[in-house]
């Protein structure tokens, strides 16, 4: 299970967090497989062994407890659950596992980070790069082999930023900063979806992001700054979240 199926489990190895999720899925699958096999095999055995035969009009045998089997089952499954709770907590504390940690993250990876803000709105994600003058773009491009600090927020409804290939998923809420860490690896493209039902075009709220090498990223940033220079004067200062005014423009 570990060596055959494990390397092919989702979500792949597009980032350190995604690779960690593959490991977690492998551990879960390896533990659950013998338990599921035991249940399925016994279920099939019971169907065959205890089936009603032709001409058999008597009641079935009385069901009685078996203290040893029951104790073994309760102890075994409890041990599995406790182990998985401990393992899950440990895995979360390693890298955050690609999930949103809220405005004050418990786990902050060490080292320099590139901040990127993800702004959700009905029905598109846009992205701000505070290290580059707060520039905003409609495409997510990240440098390879960098630790990225994503700040996920929304301008209206509740959305969820899901970059499956990077193993990242975080809710986007109005007035809230949801921080996620992701360590990119090699050059790749990845799908971005909204994973929270957010209105008419929720099903169309997807895009493709890119991880590019450092020089391509620098060139792309320069190009985007030039394209969006005219709108810079209207952009609000970078903030971890925004509450657009007036709240109810047309109401």
């Amino acid at each position: 299970m570990i060596f055959v199926l494990g390397p092919h489990l989702p979500p792949g190895h597009g980032s350190a967090q995604a690779a960690g999720q593959v490991t977690d899925n492998t551990v879960l699958t390896a533990i659950m497989t013998p338990i599921i096999c035991l249940i399925v095999v016994y279920f099939v055995y019971a169907l065959i062994a205890f089936r009603k035969r032709d001409g058999d009009e008597e009641d079935g045998s009385a069901i009685r407890g078996h203290a040893r089997a029951q104790s073994l089952w309760v102890a075994g499954t409890s041990a599995v659950v406790i182990f998985l709770a401990g393992y899950g907590t440990w895995a979360l504390l390693q890298t955050g596992s690609g999930g949103g940690q809220g405005p004050t993250p418990i786990n902050v990876p060490k080292g320099p980070k590139l901040q990127v803000q993800v702004i959700a709105q009905q029905w598109q994600f846009t992205y701000r790069y505070p290290s580059y003058g707060g520039m905003e773009t409609s495409q997510l491009v990240l440098p390879a082999d960098r630790l990225i600090e994503l700040h996920v927020t929304s301008l209206d409804a509740i959305h969820s930023f899901w970059a499956y290939g990077l193993g990242v998923k975080a809710d986007a809420q109005l007035g809230t900063d949801n921080v996620v860490y992701v360590k990119t690896r090699g050059v790749k493209s990845f799908d971005i979806h909204c994973a929270e039902l957010c209105g008419l075009w929720h099903g169309y709220m997807f895009d493709t992001g890119k991880v590019v090498d450092a020089s391509a990223f620098t060139a792309w940033i320069g190009q985007q700054k030039k394209i969006f220079e005219p709108v810079a004067k209207y952009m609000p200062p970078f903030s971890t979240y925004y509450v657009p005014e007036p709240d109810r423009r047309a109401g």
Binding site: I119, Q121, Q122, W123, Q124, T126, E136, S138, Q139, L155, D156, A157, G199, L200, W201, Y204, M205, D207, I227, F228, P230, V231, Y234, M235, P236, P244, D247, R248, R249, A250, G251
Partner: protein
């Protein structure tokens, strides 16, 4: 007893059937597609002419809702937001803007993007950005990373249009731009300005209904 069970079962089946009929009907209803003027050359071109109105007026199912209208081949205005366009074509768009400004929640969307030259014209003048507070609507196609902000009519402008379709003697702004379509497909477009008067945050009603502030480009 058996009769009661049968009656309950039949009643349940009828209610479920009605629910399914309602939901399917709601999901399937959409305006008919409109094919604007198009030419077939080596690089096909098409002319898409639209107008936005603050309220459709009498004769429509939602008379108070803000909406787009499109000009058909014969020059008549139709209430539809589904446009059929040629693939790999240059589309020249003209929008007659009869609605007032509501303002963009995200100022970033006040920069024309994904259009030829990254600019638009407003009443004949070239512009590469619009004050986000002056935006009345946007025409945005996410798949093309296309966004064009549409300037609203001033609140105190004389002779404002009240019923659709609006005529050119009413107060309006004229916005033009061009974009290129890609491969055949069905691409959604939308308005980003929360312009749905009377709905919380301006995002309900016409902003959530195909045929008003949302639609499709049928690229063929």
């Amino acid at each position: 007893m058996e009769l009661r069970i049968a009656a309950v079962a039949a009643g349940t089946a009828i209610v479920v059937a009605l629910l399914v009929w309602y939901v399917v009907g709601f999901l399937m209803v959409s305006p008919s597609a409109v094919t604007p003027q198009a030419t077939q050359r080596a690089t096909p071109t098409a002319e898409l002419t639209l107008q936005t109105v603050a309220g459709l007026g009498d004769g429509f199912s939602q008379p108070s809702w803000v909406s787009y209208l499109v000009k058909g081949k014969a020059g008549q205005w139709k209430h539809s937001t589904i446009f059929t366009l040629p693939a790999h074509a240059l589309v020249h768009v003209t929008v007659y803007q009869f609605d007032g400004a509501s303002g963009l929640r995200n100022p970033f969307l006040s920069k024309p993007q994904g259009v030829v030259g990254d600019t638009m014209t407003i009443d004949g003048k070239t512009a590469d950005v619009l004050d986000p507070d002056l935006a009345s609507h946007t025409f945005a196609v996410a798949a093309y990373h296309l966004v064009v902000p549409l300037e609203g009519v001033a609140d105190d402008a004389p002779n404002q249009c009240e019923d659709a379709p609006c005529t050119m003697d009413k107060a309006h702004k004229t916005i033009t731009f061009a974009f290129r379509t890609g491969k055949p497909g069905k691409y959604r477009w939308q308005c980003f300005v929360p312009c749905a008067a009377g709905f919380i945050y301006g995002f309900g009603g016409p902003m959530q209904t195909i045929g008003y502030m949302d639609g499709f480009l049928n690229v063929v």
